[in-house]
């Protein structure tokens, strides 16, 4: 089922949470709403669920206006950050709840319910906890049960509000992949909120980057990471280093380094130059005019890539990433004097 949001606005007291939001989610997509706290992503999710009402604008499910429909009739499955499992019911009763509260004429028999619940427990690989209570389970287990409970009523849309926010890093990573595989199996239109850009990049088909109640960019993980439309998106997704530069005559002057930028302005301008950690090259001797002199402050070789922190002569701090092979060839140590070249940059010009 597709979701469309048109010109949505929402204000809480005097705080404008959503400014004119427009978004389309196609059937079967797994979309991430990504942004910092206060960006409006959870508000948007809750309005789609019917848990909040927008001040103005439309919410359409499969082209039909959902604004008059109450939450209970929207057919949305919702997974909360803190699970929201019914504390006084067993796991089995929790999952069965949605089926048991159906109106009498559409309610399945108790046997059918039992079958469905057990099927779901097997799907989430927790078929042995049926008789336990939520407080007897770990966070990761509770979240999987919350998901099973939402799926029991066969929702047309699955909405997840920071589903892994309360979990340990390791469990978070596991459940992330698990969610991805799950979605590949079931193909339910899914929308999840997160402030973790790594999570969004890893799991989603499409990412909606939000900031201060507006949508900054909508695109595939590839697009938002490599082709950010503005400074905010660039800065928010992945690590990035910022340099202040002067641009003139198609060249950028970053400290003592001169970088050729064929598309840059001919007239004098200032610029913010952004470089991702893997876009640096570290060499022992100056490579060309674009090389910056720098001192190695810290090396962290633990991991698949080596993280190197450096300080340039001008005092700019650089966080670079190089491969294990490059690291071995260079034999970097703390306090080494090296040269850093900017292999690729993204820049934004300003008038002086």
């Amino acid at each position: 089922m597709s979701i469309e949001v048109k010109n949505l606005n929402k204000t809480f007291n005097s705080f404008k949470a959503l400014h004119d939001i427009n978004l389309k989610v196609e059937t079967g997509e797994l979309i991430a709403l990504l942004g910092p706290s206060g960006s409006g992503k959870t508000t948007l999710l809750r309005i789609i669920a019917g848990l909040e009402t927008a001040d103005s604008g439309d919410v359409l499910f499969l082209g039909e206006d959902a604004r008059g429909t109450r939450t209970k009739d929207r057919g949305v499955g919702f997974v909360f950050q803190h699970y929201a499992l019914f504390r006084h019911m067993t796991v089995f009763d929790n999952i069965a709840f949605g089926l048991r509260v159906k109106p009498r004429n559409v309610r399945p028999s108790e046997n059918a319910i039992k079958f469905k619940v057990n099927e779901l427990l097997q799907l989430i690989q927790l078929d042995w906890v049926g008789n336990r209570y939520p407080w007897q389970l770990s966070g990761g287990q509770r979240q999987r049960i919350a998901l099973a409970r939402a799926l029991a009523v066969e929702p047309k849309v699955l909405l997840l509000d920071e589903p892994f926010g309360s979990l340990d890093a390791k469990v978070r990573k596991e459940l992330r992949q698990w969610l991805r595989r799950f979605h590949d199996q079931l193909h339910i239109t899914s929308l999840f909120v997160t402030h973790d850009q790594e999570e969004a990049l890893e799991v989603a088909d499409k990412i909606v980057v939000m900031n201060k109640g507006r949508i900054e960019q909508v695109g595939s993980p590839q697009e938002v990471y490599h082709q950010p439309v503005n400074k905010f998106v660039l800065n928010f997704l992945g690590n990035v280093n910022l340099f202040h530069a002067r641009i003139e005559d198609g060249k950028a002057y970053v400290g003592s380094s001169v970088i050729d930028l064929p598309n840059a302005s001919k007239s004098a301008k200032t610029a913010d130059v952004f470089v991702r950690p893997h876009q640096f090259e570290i060499t022992r001797s100056a490579k060309d005019a674009a090389s910056l002199q720098a001192e190695v402050i810290y090396v962290n070789p633990a991991g698949s890539i080596v993280k190197v922190d450096l300080n340039t002569q001008e005092g700019d701090a650089i966080q670079a990433e190089i491969t294990q092979d490059e690291f071995k060839k260079l034999d970097l140590k703390k306090n080494d004097q090296v040269y850093v070249s900017l292999r690729q940059v993204t820049y934004y010009e300003f008038d002086i």
Partner: protein, 281 residues
């Protein structure tokens, strides 16, 4: 090391002793005196004074008052707590203040309010007279006054409980297709049942024991508008000490039973109580 532990043990037991002495002096001693004085002339006299017509009428009126006031305050308490804990609305703080008011206002004033409203010189006096309705100096006034003084009991127990539990479970129930009513019945109610029970116990104890407010509106008509507390006062003023203390022992027993029931609940369901008070997990 052991000196520190020794000292804090002294402080610990010292504080406990002070608390026990305090309770013993101001709670247990009076209760014991009431019971022994009531039984001073033996069981036969005790039961005779309790089966006096006016005493029985007083007991009946007390029970009737509780039977009306407690359920009504239960419903009101649940409704008010639900609104306050789960929603934001203008006037919320004002409502909270109103709910707390009967606790801070002198019971005499609470009774006086009703006289000023429904008395013959009161605001609604002429209207009531024209329609032949009497409120003040009837059991109706007693029930109204009792409702007023006991209505915070359930609400004050439920509001913090519902606030701690949050809205998540109710919202989850709604997304799963449950109507408001079903959500309340299957999700909210089981979560607050212990708070409700406490509230009802407190409400009942206060309803049966209320003196000040009821005294103002009752008219003290023997056999008709006397609750047990009022009746005890009358007996005492007429120097019928044994009868007075016999009747008073009933209220004392009520207090004891209330405490015992409360403690039993806490003991038996300690685990579930702690867990109902948990924050949203």
């Amino acid at each position: 090391m052991s000196q520190v532990r020794h000292e804090s043990a002294i402080i610990k037991w010292g504080l406990i002793s002070i608390a026990l002495v305090y309770i013993g002096l101001f709670l247990l001693l009076p209760l014991a005196i009431v019971l022994t004085t009531g039984l001073a002339k033996g069981f036969a006299v005790y039961f005779k004074s309790l089966s006096d017509a006016n005493t029985l009428a007083a007991i009946r009126l007390t029970v009737l008052t509780a039977l009306v006031a407690v359920p009504l305050n239960l419903i009101f308490g649940i409704a008010a707590s639900w609104a306050i804990a789960k929603f934001d609305f203008y006037g919320k703080n004002f409502l909270l203040t109103l709910i707390d008011m009967p606790l801070s206002v002198s019971p005499v004033i609470s009774g006086l309010i009703y006289v000023l409203m429904f008395g013959s010189q009161g605001v609604l006096g002429p209207w009531l007279r024209d329609h032949g309705i009497k409120v003040i100096f009837t059991p109706i006034a007693i029930i109204l006054a009792t409702i007023f003084v006991t209505f915070p009991m359930v609400a004050r127990e439920l509001i913090p409980l519902m606030k701690t539990q949050g809205n998540d479970e109710e919202e989850a129930a709604m997304t799963l297709g449950a109507s408001g009513l079903k959500t309340f019945w299957y999700i909210t109610l089981p979560n607050i049942k212990w708070g409700l029970l406490y509230g009802v116990i407190l409400c009942n104890a206060r309803a049966m024991g209320e003196f000040g407010a009821v005294s103002v509106v009752s008219g003290h008509i023997r056999g008709l508008t006397n609750t047990l507390p009022l009746h005890i006062e009358i007996l005492y003023n007429e120097y019928q000490f044994t009868a007075a203390f016999a009747a008073a022992s009933l209220l004392a027993l009520l207090a004891l039973v209330t405490l015992i029931v409360k403690s039993l609940i806490e003991l038996r369901f300690k685990h579930e109580l702690r867990f109902a008070r948990q924050k949203k997990q």
